[in-house]
């Protein structure tokens, strides 16, 4: 039997009509429930367009009304997602609904120290991301051994964290460490240099966790503002990439603070080495091993090498993960006799300071996030026009590592660089998307058929390959 629907057609409305019309219909239905059936509003279909341009923004989205007016953009409020009268997406639950009615008391369940508390996914050399298991004991060790001794947090410290909490750097050192020490945590949900600077000032932050690009931005902003630069920071930590020496010194002077650079991995619950500015600072070094951390340099057979000789950096400590979730093979490949094989190549000087000189793993690091070249290569190869692809890290204009792809097309196929980049952006997080694509007739291969990435890299400076004594420094690769 045919059903009847009412059509409401509003082809040139205001942006605020878009949510208001269905809201009015829903409200009419509520009231209509008390009326005789024949007066109840019918099922309704609405087709709406707007005049000009409009933005529908949720309550937590900041809209600049002046800028909007300047560009002729109207603003409408997106329907609330909280509250009794708010519709909710079908098949979902609202966090506020399920927690508001739940009791506040909950006795913590008994856990063994070695039980995983968190699984963090990180890209390695093999295709898709692997889940690094971090246990209650790992976090406890990070707080009690490293945070407590290297940059002792105190109860009256206020930490500012703009780095995402889903990354090991902020997760271990801010989210967990602040509760461990009873400090206060200032959460910043989105990054802009001005927002960060204002938040530091407003919360009178004493500790800042950031990555080099943020220190550079803050410094640039502080130079412009000249006055009102917060002087409350007693310690800043930088990781993820090298921080240029000049930036470090000027930042310390203007903000009246100190910066320590950390080196660590997701597999080590973040930092295992810290190079602190001051008397103990060694240019180009990642610092000495932190308390409770053993680091040695080994050859391919796992034998320890003497000082000054380059080999793989291996780590043993209570902060080292037990392995990858659901992946004994990968776990066995990196965890050998209790030592984590980092894939980083480095050496130690006579004073116990470590230097990174090369990387064994085929890995790209951008903004502190690991990128697996293989994951990008595999994705590209799923495109119909692509026969094969090879991906390397190159330095972009800002001095950050960026993804570059070399693509061999399938016979007879043609595809533009733009289309392939778009294809990647549909399937990959933005930092993994190639910034450049170069088409080749073939990829350079060894006699055994292995793609020779070294040849592809010719002409690109690999910023990770720091020589001992360089003024720049290697950061952590979380």
């Amino acid at each position: 039997m045919a059903t009847t629907w009412r059509l409401i057609y509003n082809p040139a409305g205001h942006i605020a009509d878009i949510p208001a019309v269905p809201a009015a219909l829903a409200a009419g239905r509520r009231v209509g429930r008390c009326l005789p059936r024949c007066f109840r509003p019918p099922d309704t279909l609405v087709i709406q367009g707007i005049r000009g341009k409009g933005i529908l923004a949720g309550a937590d989205v900041v809209v600049d009304a002046c800028e909007a007016e300047k560009h002729g953009i109207d603003i409408g409020a997106a329907p609330a997602t909280k509250g009794r009268r708010a519709p909710k997406p079908a098949g979902t639950l609202r966090f506020e609904d399920i927690t508001a009615s739940a009791p506040a008391a909950f006795g913590a369940a008994a856990c063994a120290p070695g039980d995983p508390a968190v699984i963090l996914y990180t890209s390695g050399t093999t295709g898709m991301p692997k889940g690094v298991m971090l246990s209650h004991a790992n976090f406890h060790a990070q707080c009690s051994l490293i945070v407590a001794q290297v940059f002792p947090l105190q109860q009256d410290d206020r930490l500012t964290v703009v780095l995402p909490l889903y990354h090991v750097y902020a997760l271990a050192n801010a989210l967990v460490a602040s509760v461990y020490f009873g400090a206060s945590l200032c959460l910043i949900p989105q990054y802009s240099p001005a927002l960060l600077l204002d938040a530091i000032a407003a919360s009178r932050a004493t500790i800042l966790f950031a990555i080099p690009s943020m220190y550079m931005h803050l410094l640039t902003l502080a130079r412009v503002r000249k006055t009102g630069i917060p002087q409350t920071l007693r310690l800043c930590v930088s990781g993820g990439a090298p921080l240029p020496r000049a930036v470090l010194s000027e930042f310390e002077k203007i903000f009246g603070t100190r910066i320590a650079e950390g080196y660590g991995l997701t597999e080590t619950t973040s930092a295992v080495c810290l190079n602190e500015s001051g008397e103990t600072f060694r240019p180009g070094s990642i610092g000495p091993a932190a308390p409770g951390v053993e680091i040695k340099i080994v050859d391919d057979d796992g034998c320890e090498l003497p000082d000054g000789h380059a080999g793989e950096i291996v780590i043993r400590s209570a902060v080292v993960s037990q392995g990858y979730w659901n992946n004994p093979q990968e776990t066995a490949a990196v965890m050998r006799d209790g030592w984590l094989h980092t894939g980083d190549i480095g050496c130690r000087d006579h004073d116990g300071y470590f230097f990174i000189t090369d990387r064994k793993k085929d890995l790209i690091i951008r903004g502190g996030f690991n990128i697996s070249p293989r994951e990008v290569e595999e994705l590209l190869a799923t495109h119909a026009a692509v026969q094969e692809a090879a991906v390397i890290g190159v330095m972009d204009k800002r001095g950050e590592e960026a993804v570059k792809a070399f693509v061999v097309l399938s016979p007879g196929a043609s595809v533009s660089e733009k289309t392939l980049i778009e294809y990647c952006s549909m399937n990959l997080a933005p930092y993994k998307i190639p910034k450049m694509i170069e088409f080749r007739d073939a990829l350079p291969r060894s006699a055994a058929g292995k793609v020779l990435k070294k040849e592809l890299r010719t002409g690109y400076v690999d910023i990770r390959l720091m020589q001992q004594g360089d003024t720049a420094q290697e950061g952590g690769n979380g």
Binding site: T4, G13, G58, D64, A90, P129
Partner: protein, 303 residues
């Protein structure tokens, strides 16, 4: 090792010692350790009521907002395993993480509902989608975006899945009538051409009603100027910037909203065996409409 407390016990202990001290500072608000401990307790109880047990994995796809902290410590109190991941991840990456970790639930931003719905059938182990935050962001432009909405009794369709299916089928059929031949609808989210989004569908429930909100692109949206007016975190921006296409880009010819309306009504009538009668808002609805409009001074739509 026995003296090492779990992260859940650690929060309880800090709250016992420092109850009124500020634990979190967020957008001018402070949250004490006691409040944090209680919020984590509520989250643990709420998740336990959903059947989440010690050792279960629960994914977190949130930016730095207090709900991240409540969820994290709620899971720790439960002895469950938190699986927080990059909010910039796309469907393929999220599918891998949810399946590999075997997550039974996910706590995510409300604005990610569409993305998670779209991959839900590829993640059979995911039982609960829990949403928070009000970071929804939508751009509209004359001649480029058309909003198709439906408000109807829940009883009209057998299930929410049936509504998704019917709405998707009508939209695909309308797009085909307009010459977009390779439009396809996977599941509960987006209609795509060559992987690019051309329309999205969000189904909401409200008491005994279903409310469908669909957005269809009939022409290219000029996105750049919009970002001059809104400052949004990268994960929100990235979802807005997802490669889009439109009827015009697919067919080479422009389509007006009136032409789209006719194609949509044809498809709707045929697919759903429905009669459509032009109408306008009733007196009660007009009153509700005025209340719902946040900006005064605009006229009620002529119908």
């Amino acid at each position: 090792m026995a003296e090492i407390p779990s992260l859940g016990a650690m929060l309880a202990e800090t709250a016992r010692r420092l109850g009124s001290k500020e634990a979190l500072i967020f957008e001018g608000r402070t949250i004490s350790y006691r409040e944090l401990d209680e919020q984590a307790g509520r989250t643990a109880n709420a998740l336990a009521a959903l059947g989440i047990r010690t050792g279960d994995r629960v994914a977190i796809m949130l930016p730095n907002i207090p709900e991240f902290v409540y969820t994290f410590y709620g899971l720790q109190k439960l002895g469950a395993v938190a699986v927080p991941f990059n909010t910039m991840y796309k469907g393929r990456e999220i599918t891998h993480i949810l399946n590999d970790s075997g997550a039974r639930a996910i706590v995510a931003l409300t604005g990610f509902a569409n993305l998670i719905n779209e991959i839900k059938t590829d993640v059979p182990g995911l039982e609960h989608i829990i949403l928070t935050g009000q970071r929804t962001l939508l751009f509209a432009q004359e001649g480029a975006t058309v909003f198709v909405q439906m408000v109807f009794d829940a009883g009209r369709f057998a299930s929410s899945d049936a509504v998704f299916k019917a709405t998707g089928a009508v939209l695909v059929s309308a797009l085909k009538r307009l010459g977009v031949d390779d439009a396809w609808y996977k599941h509960q989210g987006s209609i795509r051409c060559d992987g690019k989004k051309i329309a999205s569908i969000l189904l909401s429930t409200f008491e005994n009603l279903f409310i469908v909100n669909a957005l269809v692109c009939i022409d290219r949206l000029e996105i750049d100027t919009f970002f001059k007016a809104v400052g949004v975190p990268p994960e929100v921006k990235d979802k807005v910037l997802e490669p889009m296409t439109s009827v015009r880009e697919q067919t080479g010819s422009p389509v007006t909203i009136a032409v789209f309306r006719d194609a949509f009504m044809d498809a709707f009538q045929q697919q759903l065996d429905a009669d459509i009668v032009s109408g306008s808002l009733s007196i009660i609805e007009r009153f509700a409409y005025r209340q719902a409009r946040r900006r005064p001074g605009e006229k009620i739509p002529k119908t």
